[in-house]
């Protein structure tokens, strides 16, 4: 007895083929390469598709072809403007090539990365994109077993799987420290949010404070819990002023924190940069516009997304088997603005 399923009265390729009076394989061929079928049947197929409102079943296609036009992307958080900019750029580029972006966010929770990667793998993705290059053993195993190129973004270091596009956060921290030393910083603090789980913010902090230490300056580090936000920055400044009233320079792990510092300083009548120098990280849309404009590190978030997408598309569409791992330093730029102005001798005690 025949077991009829086919509950889904979906329009299939066979339906199109029947209506166009050709075989299903001709329809399949037409869909992938319209010029490959004879000019006589092409219009018939085209019309049948339109009349029936045929939508190809990607699932079946992917299963047959053993490859899915989907790319899994793991970011820590979408609330973070850095990552949403990168994701937006990637999505746009993937879309151009007909690839679908699968999105997952860890919210900095340990173990979530492995879960998300596992989920993505069950979709047989064409490629995987993860954030950072530090992963737990489970994630590493999963990524290694993936028969798809793996891109790591926003950070350099460790051994790359296939592609790594990012920059050294440690150096970014160093660059800010160097600048602050040049302008005569003496009493220095660093504000970072959740630096135990945000390893990149922690790296920037390390780069900054070690550089300072080499110059004989001990940095007061304020590691606040929760998301980076202006409120975080404002509270942190209040704390710092309590413990270190003569602070003259503050670096922040994120521009939104720095913005909060600027607001709090303004409320307290603390002049920036005359009495307090402030630097951030991210070069967010407000950083150029705020008062005073904020010295910061520009990480090229969009460029990272674009590079990854392009490089992956290239690898996927021209599968020169066994490609070498590739590392791309997307770099960063220290953008010096009015919030860090030279500390005049006259203003020092």
């Amino acid at each position: 007895m025949p077991r009829s399923r086919r509950s889904t009265n979906r329009v299939t390729m066979d339906d199109v083929a029947a209506r166009a009076r050709v075989s299903a394989s001709s329809v399949s061929l037409f869909l992938r390469n319209p010029d490959a079928v004879s000019p006589r049947i092409a219009p018939r197929i085209k019309q049948a598709i339109e009349v029936l409102g045929y939508v190809p079943n990607l699932l079946a296609g992917s299963l047959a072809a053993a490859r899915t036009r989907a790319i899994g992307v793991v970011v820590p958080s979408l609330g973070n403007a850095f990552f949403s900019a990168t994701v937006a750029a990637m999505q746009k580029e993937f879309d151009r090539h007909g690839y679908q972006l699968l999105l997952g966010a860890t919210e900095y929770e340990p173990g979530r990365e492995a879960d998300l990667v596992r989920t993505f793998l069950s979709w047989s993705p064409t490629a995987l994109v993860v954030t950072g290059c530090r992963h737990d053993d489970e994630t590493r195993t999963l990524l290694r077993s993936a028969r798809a190129p793996v891109a790591e973004m926003w950070e350099l270091g460790e051994q790359p799987f296939d592609l790594q596009v990012g920059f050294s956060h440690y150096k970014a921290g160093e660059a800010v420290a160097r600048h602050m030393l040049e302008i005569g910083a003496k009493r220095v603090a660093f504000i970072g949010a959740r630096m135990k789980s945000d390893v990149r913010a922690h790296q920037r902090c390390e780069g900054f404070s070690r550089s300072m230490l080499k110059a004989g300056i001990d940095v007061h580090i304020e590691n606040v819990p929760g998301d980076a936000s202006p409120k975080t920055g404002a509270h942190a400044l209040a704390d710092i002023l309590r413990r270190m009233p003569d602070v003259d320079s503050i670096a922040c792990s994120n521009d939104v924190i720095a913005l909060g510092v600027l607001f709090e300083a303004q409320r307290r009548g603390l002049a920036v940069p005359q009495q307090l120098r402030v630097a951030g990280f991210g070069d967010l849309p407000f950083s150029e516009e705020c008062v005073p404009p904020l010295t910061t590190v520009q990480p090229r978030a969009t460029q990272i997304g674009l590079s990854i997408a392009r490089e992956l598309m290239e690898r996927v569409e021209q599968p020169a088997d066994e490609q070498e791992p590739r590392i791309v330093d997307s770099g960063f730029e220290l953008v010096i603005r009015a919030s860090t102005q030279r500390i005049e001798a006259s203003q020092e005690p």
Copy 2:
């Protein structure tokens, strides 16, 4: 001649079955309901899965079951904090239920919505989420033909497909206008970004300016091109001051624009709220913290995402066939802060 393909040396369910010395059906059953197999073979299957590192192929599963655990989401832009907050909330909730979020952004380009929906449909998604309730004919046709619940978010109006979670932007605009009238606004302007394509910003503008008109006040509308940003706001304020030097109150379609207005006012020594009142929309993280704190409309972005996800999961998991369309007014709240303070008579000319 047998055609051996099976180039993909992927670990399949059969491999697991062979190793556990059971049938593939039992493995499948175990995966969906571990308690349904006898306690004798369950551990064998479990071990085989772990040893072989088996990852189920969702594609095959979805094809067979004729349902995919994927939900397509279309937003205008990820750069917009509103939508990224909503998407983040949805993704988290979907993930909890084992559903994958497919993401697409239109970047406010006409026609992109239909393209994205079409792409999603070919994935046979469990549900679709789109932004707003105004869609071109092509999109409407596609959505109607979808055998999946369709949720529209961030806006109310039109006839809902299945679910609509949002609020009236027109009323949000009215609420701001009402407040500004109460505090004695006389010379009024509205700044919006790209209001031809951002229909919701346009609605807020309409609600605002019509309310003002009813009170006999003609609103100067500044519709700037490009994304909403602080720079946009700063430039717009400069423009407004040129054409309308005695402006006393400005409403903005977005808090980031309002932030730019505050910065520009500060640079010009224009005291807010004493000389100029400013209101925004969005209640972004900085809005409470900036100087002065910003009066704004809070749209409950996270709540919208959560409501949609929960409602969809419910519909999907308890398919009481032919559910009624449902409209949920997520509401908004006018948050009055220092940036809009009563205009004292003594300060008027």
